[in-house]
């Protein structure tokens, strides 16, 4: 199996170095770029399987780089950002980024996110789309039959609850913003009513999570959106 090729775009040399060390230890090939110009060149010439991108680049807005790369590449993009800039994270995700990490972050977090995104990309690449049967924790979701089971027992979901769950399942661990979920589940007219998502997500958690206030799968990305964690590959 080929080593995954990772492009790290970060203007701080020390952070770049530790990202390289951490990922190389995981048996990945790492390329470094220090600004948006080299990021574009390397993203095209190196054909990376995944890009780790700092949003605060000296020469250009990271979001513009994401949009450019998204024009011709479907490689997952993980954005590095600050806690307080929710709007920036949302904009990056809606520009085409797949996930984000808040600085400062630990090595295990980084590796876990990178691996999850690589797995997601390889699955999507292999099948063209996600499988109809998805499992996470003791939950089993059948996208074809709209059947949801928890520990083998059928769980009754309302149509909107199911559509919301299905959107997260299709995202396969990608962070979906409130806006993206609202448009996907309710339609374009509801794009600004993020409290809808919160109410229905609370319902879903009541039905699917053991501790709704400490969710293990239906994870809140505060002020940004939601993602489904712990998806188990199914055949």
């Amino acid at each position: 199996m080929n080593k995954p090729r990772i492009l790290v775009v970060e203007d701080e040399a020390d952070i770049r170095r530790f990202l390289r060390l951490a990922l190389e230890r995981e048996d990945m090939t790492v390329f470094e770029a220090g600004d948006a110009l080299h990021a574009r060149i390397d993203a095209a010439s190196r054909q990376p399987d995944l890009i780790v991108l700092d949003l605060g680049l000296p020469d250009d807005d990271g979001k513009v780089v994401i949009r450019d790369v998204r024009g011709w590449s479907s490689a997952p993009i993980i954005v590095l950002s600050a806690r307080e800039s929710e709007a920036e994270k949302v904009a990056a995700l809606e520009s085409g980024a797949d996930d984000y990490l808040v600085k400062p972050f630990g090595v295990p977090e980084l590796v876990a996110r990178v691996r999850a995104q690589l797995r997601r990309a390889s699955l999507a690449g292999a099948r063209g789309q996600a499988s109809a049967l998805v499992r996470f924790g003791d939950i089993e979701v059948n996208l074809a039959t709209h059947e949801v089971r928890r520990g083998g027992e059928v769980v009754h979901l309302t149509p909107i609850e199911f559509r919301l769950l299905a959107a997260l399942v299709r995202g396969q661990g990608k962070v979906l913003t409130h806006r993206q979920l609202l448009i996907d589940v309710w339609g374009p007219g509801h794009a600004s009513r993020s409290h809808y998502v919160r109410v229905y997500m609370a319902n879903l958690r009541q039905k699917l999570e053991q501790q709704p206030a400490r969710p293990r799968h239906l994870v809140t990305e505060l002020q940004v959106g939601y993602r489904l964690a712990g998806i188990v590959e199914t055949s």
Binding site: E12, D14, I15, F18, L19, L21, A22, R25, G56, A82, R83, E84, E86, K103, P104, F105, G106, V107, P108, L110, H156, L157, T158, P159, I160, R193, S194, H195, Y196, R198, V199, M201, A202, R205, Q206, Q211, P212, A213, R214, P215, V219, T220, L222, Q223
Partner: protein, 493 residues
């Protein structure tokens, strides 16, 4: 419409002009007697007509009319035969008298009107000039002092007195150390009605207090002190009205110039502060990220883990400091949205390292949405959970409970650890940089709780601490429930 002191009656009629009219007629009679030695009687009549016209021109309608009658009378009495008698021998003269009277009256009245119009025009011109001069000076005024100066130097002189501008302070109160009667000035400012001499309110006062009113509000008071008891004449009254409007508008203009400047300054300051905070935040975060990341590369050793923990701790303090700085800036704008409380609690729990401590969350499923700034409120919860992690042993239990009573939402965060040390004032916990135990080995500068209080209070809520029985600490956050937005219910499933 600007309210005014009581209307001044037209200028009082001066009876002495009638005496002047009679005297003029007597003088003319004397002249006519002299002229009659040379000229014919019919020519002498003209002298009387001339006199009537001049009297009317000089002293007005009434004097002119009286002069006409007196002139005809004396012509009859002194010159028409039989002289020294009002009898008339030749009835021809009756026609002369009648004609003379009519001509005298008509020319007299015409002359009087001409005179009145000339006087009016001159007054109008004077008024226009005075207004133009004052308006010019007011238009270049850039400070309240400039306006006060125009009032003192220009306006007083035009109204035979002393005009003083009284302006309220920012609290809309007249300064007590100011000139004039502060109480009356305050009343005038609040009511927008004139007071003092010449008005219906407190007319015994020596000065008149006039409101300076713009379409928006009353902006100040013009105090007018006059040496004479004489009311203002129509011309001065008109001027005064115009001045009131002009001054009020000038004050308003100056006010808005100041407001605009202040706003610009504030916006600029805010922008600078945000830029500075972002820069500081970035400059702190970058080395922390590198330290934390590289420590993570050192493997599973205790030292590496300690570095990671300390970096995390430092990161949290930096976040607290930055949030505190942001909250300190004037007019913090909260990003209020309707949130599910359990989601915020979950998110904060995920962000806190609680180790092996048990967590019991009891938030009813039907708990209403709360309007919050999620980023800031998560900081409050993280600080509370962090405190619990800092001050309780590893086997402690954390209880998070939410209650909904009427218009209040109550969130309690409790632990069954040792609780607050005896003898400390629990309320002081929320003061800036207070800590339960002095110089303890537990890190943190007490910034967390004071920041938490500030955040909760910015949401219109309150936070308090108490001792939990039999042991442990309890924090209680109370928020207003608000009215969550309606949700279109799904069609039945």
């Amino acid at each position: 419409m600007i309210p005014h002191p009581a209307q001044v009656p037209p200028r009082a009629f001066q009876y002495r002009v009638l005496v002047y009219a009679v005297a003029a007629c007597a003088f003319t009679t004397g002249i006519a007697a002299l002229l009659l030695r040379v000229f014919d009687l019919s020519n002498v009549v003209m002298v009387f007509l001339l006199t009537v016209m001049l009297v009317a021109l000089r002293w007005g309608r009434a004097a002119g009319a009286l002069a006409a009658v007196v002139a005809v009378g004396s012509f009859d009495f002194f010159f028409v035969p039989p002289v020294w008698s009002f009898h008339v021998s030749d009835t021809q003269y009756l026609f002369t008298f009648l004609l003379m009277l009519v001509v005298a009256l008509v020319t007299g009245q015409l002359a009087a009107r001409l005179r009145a119009e000339a006087v009016g025009a001159a007054a109008g011109e004077r008024r226009a000039n005075a207004l133009a001069a004052v308006a010019t000076e007011l238009s270049v005024a850039v400070r309240d002092e400039d306006i006060a100066n125009v009032c003192a130097t220009r306006i007083g002189a035009l109204l035979d007195g002393k005009a003083t501008l009284l302006l309220p302070g920012r609290d809309e109160r007249m300064p007590t150390a100011g000139q004039g009667d502060t109480g009356i000035a305050q009343w005038v400012l609040e009511e927008g009605l004139p007071a003092g001499r010449g008005t219906d309110t407190l007319p015994a006062n020596e000065a008149t207090y006039l409101p300076l009113t713009t379409p928006l509000r009353t902006r100040g008071v013009l105090m007018l002190e006059r040496a004479t008891m004489q009311p203002l004449d129509t011309e001065q009254l008109g001027l005064l009205r115009a001045f009131q409007s002009l001054i009020a508008l000038a004050i308003e203009r100056v006010h808005f110039v100041e407001v605009a400047q202040e706003t610009q300054l504030r916006v600029e300051g805010e922008r600078l502060r945000n830029a500075l905070l972002s820069a500081v935040s970035h400059d702190m975060r970058t080395p922390l990220t590198a330290i934390r990341g590289m420590a993570g590369m050192l493997g599973e050793s205790d030292v590496a883990q300690a570095i990671v923990n300390q970096a995390d701790r430092m990161q949290r303090q930096v976040a607290n400091l930055l949030d505190a700085a942001r909250l300190q800036s004037e007019g913090v704008r909260l990003d209020l949205q309707w949130h599910a409380l359990d989601e915020l609690v979950g998110s904060a729990l995920a962000a806190t390292a609680l180790g092996s401590r048990q967590v019991v969350v009891d938030i009813p499923a039907e708990f209403p949405l709360v309007e919050l700034d999620a980023t800031l409120f998560e900081r409050v919860l993280v600080n509370l959970f962090d405190n619990a992690a800092k001050y309780t042993p590893g086997d402690a239990t954390l209880y998070i409970r939410a209650d909904h009573t009427g218009s209040k939402l109550i969130l309690r965060v409790e632990d069954d650890g040792p609780g607050f040390p005896p003898g400390i004032d629990i309320n002081l916990l929320f003061a800036e940089f207070a800590r339960g135990t002095r110089e303890s080995a537990v890190p943190g500068v007490g910034l967390g709780l004071s920041l938490s209080r500030r955040i909760v209070e910015a949401h219109g809520g309150s936070i308090s601490a108490s001792r939990r029985m039999p042991h442990g600490a309890r924090f209680e956050i109370i928020l207003a429930a608000g009215e969550p937005p309606a949700i279109d219910l799904e069609d039945s499933a």
